[in-house]
């Protein structure tokens, strides 16, 4: 895999921005996180200038190029994983364009300015691994659906303008999603304190008789949009190879493959940051009269870290390539990549602390943040156990999780 000149330029501009604008403020902002809406929007506005975002103008070039998407996930996470999460979890706002007139009226101007923040509510307090059976319900009443239930761990929930909620559609006896916009509906959120990803908000949401227009049901939005002459790629701004996977691997699974590949690159970004600092420290810090990097056991640690980083990056790239070509292995490779890189980045960031010794544990250094951010990775978007079961199903065609 080789980046085009245009993709390389995109990466260079992004790196430059992150180093000059985000790196100097990240420690302070992460420590005092989660970000508030206005601060997150400041970054999102800047990133939009670089071609990263969800508005109708930016989304097709950002999501429409798998490499731009994964470069962003890696580079942003190298500097600040929480910012990557805040950005990526905003994805559901792309559906505003196809929602009810009520939601469009309220949200489209914001979306077009690149300021409509989104959020995805799948996980429920009763368990996040088994997503096939949501307890949140959507009851049809006239031209509305009425939502009841609880969601938890929802990224961006506090300040999101729209939330895409998975619920059991009682009228169809099937699982569906519903776009709730904050201007026409209200719900309670409760912040969750957590170990890592401290810069981004995760919250519990309670839906108590929350009414949304019937046209805000995701399957209806697709139906209406296609009826109006749109293609799948107009609705979900993925490359054609990925929307083709909607047919071969179901829309939700293909979307997960895309997001999990992004998560794998996020893990790579965290590892890169930890490795770079560990290597610099190893040549700088001296014990027994020589740099610690000259001690064989420290070299072994550096070897382990670098191998973990390189194998992770290669596997993540394989997953990205499979999305780019619409390969039938996309689900297998993206789950493998998410599972493997998430676990590996826990080891790599832990090793980075080891190379730093006591300094690595100090909260005024970044090493402990890398480790805390890394430790979160094996849980969201399907735990490592679930990724293993998906890979098992893809390999054997026998499901261990239905």
């Amino acid at each position: 895999m080789r980046l085009t000149a245009e993709q390389e330029a995109f990466r260079d501009d992004l790196r430059q921005y992150l180093d000059s604008e985000v790196d100097p403020v990240v420690d302070d902002l992460d420590e005092n996180g989660p970000l508030d809406r206005e601060t997150l929007l400041t970054f999102i506005r800047d990133l939009r200038e670089l071609g990263i975002g969800f508005d109708p103008e930016t989304a097709p070039q950002f999501f429409g190029d798998v490499w731009r998407f994964v470069i962003t996930a890696e580079e942003v996470s190298r500097v600040w994983p929480s910012l990557n999460v805040g950005l990526m979890m905003s994805f559901p706002s792309v559906f505003v364009r196809f929602a009810s007139s009520e939601t469009r009226e309220a949200m489209l101007p914001k979306l077009e300015r690149g300021e409509c923040l989104g959020s995805l509510a799948v996980t429920e307090p009763s368990g996040g691994s088994d997503t096939a059976r949501p307890r949140t319900t959507a009851r049809k009443e006239g031209e509305e659906f009425v939502l009841n239930g609880q969601k938890t761990w929802v990224g961006n929930a506090h300040y999101a303008d729209v939330v895409l909620v998975v619920a059991e559609d009682e009228s169809a006896g099937a699982q569906d999603m519903f776009l709730v916009d904050r201007e026409n509906a209200s719900f309670e959120t409760e912040e969750l304190e957590k170990l890592g990803w401290k810069g981004v908000s995760n919250a519990r949401i309670t839906f108590d008789e929350v009414r949304v227009p019937a046209d805000n049901r995701l399957s209806t939005m697709f139906s209406n949009a296609i009826g109006a002459g749109n293609d799948m790629n107009d609705i979900v701004p993925f490359p054609e190879s990925v929307t083709q996977l909607f047919f071969e691997q179901k829309p939700l699974n293909a979307t997960f493959s895309f997001m999990r590949t992004g998560m794998a690159f996020m893990a790579v970004g965290i590892m890169q940051a930890a490795f770079d600092e560990a290597l610099a420290h190893a040549t700088d810090r001296e014990t027994f009269g020589s740099p610690i990097g000259g001690h064989q056991l420290v070299q072994e640690t550096l070897y382990d870290m670098r191998v973990g980083l390189e194998t992770s990056r290669q596997l993540a790239r394989r997953a990205a390539e499979s999305l780019e070509t619409g390969s039938e292995d996309a689900r297998l490779l993206s789950s493998m990549a998410k599972g493997y890189t998430s676990e590996t980045c826990v080891d790599v960031t832990s090793n980075a602390i080891q190379v730093f010794g006591g300094e690595g544990l100090k909260t005024d250094n970044r090493l402990e943040r890398y480790f805390r951010d890394a430790r979160v990775m094996p849980i969201p978007d399907g735990t490592t156990e679930i990724q293993k079961l998906i890979v098992g199903k893809e390999l054997t065609d026998l499901s261990a999780y239905t």
């Binding site: 169809a172 099937a174 749109n230 929307t243 909607f246 047919f247």
Partner: protein
């Protein structure tokens, strides 16, 4: 003339579902060969018959009466063809040649559909085409619902009620055609 047949179909509407299910194999047998004529002469009746059939467990019916599966589909497709014939709303939607095979996964029922962009027509029938652009697989009820309007094609797909194989853009172009067809099939003429 299909008046006598129409009277018998009419009479069977008076019966409950079980009785209608019992009568259906014989009725379908009699309709065989004159489905187009029946639909032309008594379109509302055919809509009603298809509507009643949609309420039945089609997979069970086809499994118990395998020989009637083809006849049922011939009636279904004759209904669609005739109701959509010369209909501007339907032909306007047909902007591409698309061929589709249908396969029930809960009973031995296969069918197909073909659109012709130049002629602006849709034709269909039982059995598979040798090579089709798309293959739709799902429960028989859902497949029939797709044709008669009980199941919205995109919504049903997104809710994973059936699976579709083939190029996505053909699938998305098929959906509005199916929608306009099923609108016709559901509206008594």
């Amino acid at each position: 003339m299909t008046d006598e047949l129409a009277r018998r179909i009419e009479a069977s509407f008076e019966k409950d579902d079980d009785q209608l299910e019992e009568d259906l194999p014989e009725l379908l047998d009699d309709i065989d060969g004159q489905a187009d004529e029946l639909v032309r002469e008594h379109p509302a009746l055919v809509s009603r018959l298809l509507g009643r059939m949609q309420e039945m467990d089609i997979a069970e019916f086809v499994s118990e009466n395998p020989e009637t599966a083809d006849q049922f589909q011939e009636l279904l497709w004759a209904g669609v063809r005739v109701l959509a014939e010369n209909d501007d709303e339907v032909s306007e939607q047909i902007t591409e040649d698309i061929s589709v095979n249908f396969e029930a996964d809960d009973c031995p029922m296969t069918g197909h559909l073909r659109t012709d962009a130049d002629a602006g027509t849709v034709t269909g029938g039982s059995g598979h085409l040798d090579d089709s652009d798309l293959t739709i697989t799902g429960p028989a009820d859902t497949l029939v619902g797709l044709i008669t309007g009980g199941v919205d094609p995109i919504q049903g797909f997104m809710q994973q009620k059936y699976e579709m194989d083939g190029p996505v853009h053909k699938g998305t172009r098929l959906a509005p055609i199916m929608n306009s067809l099923s609108e016709k099939a559901a509206t008594p003429q």
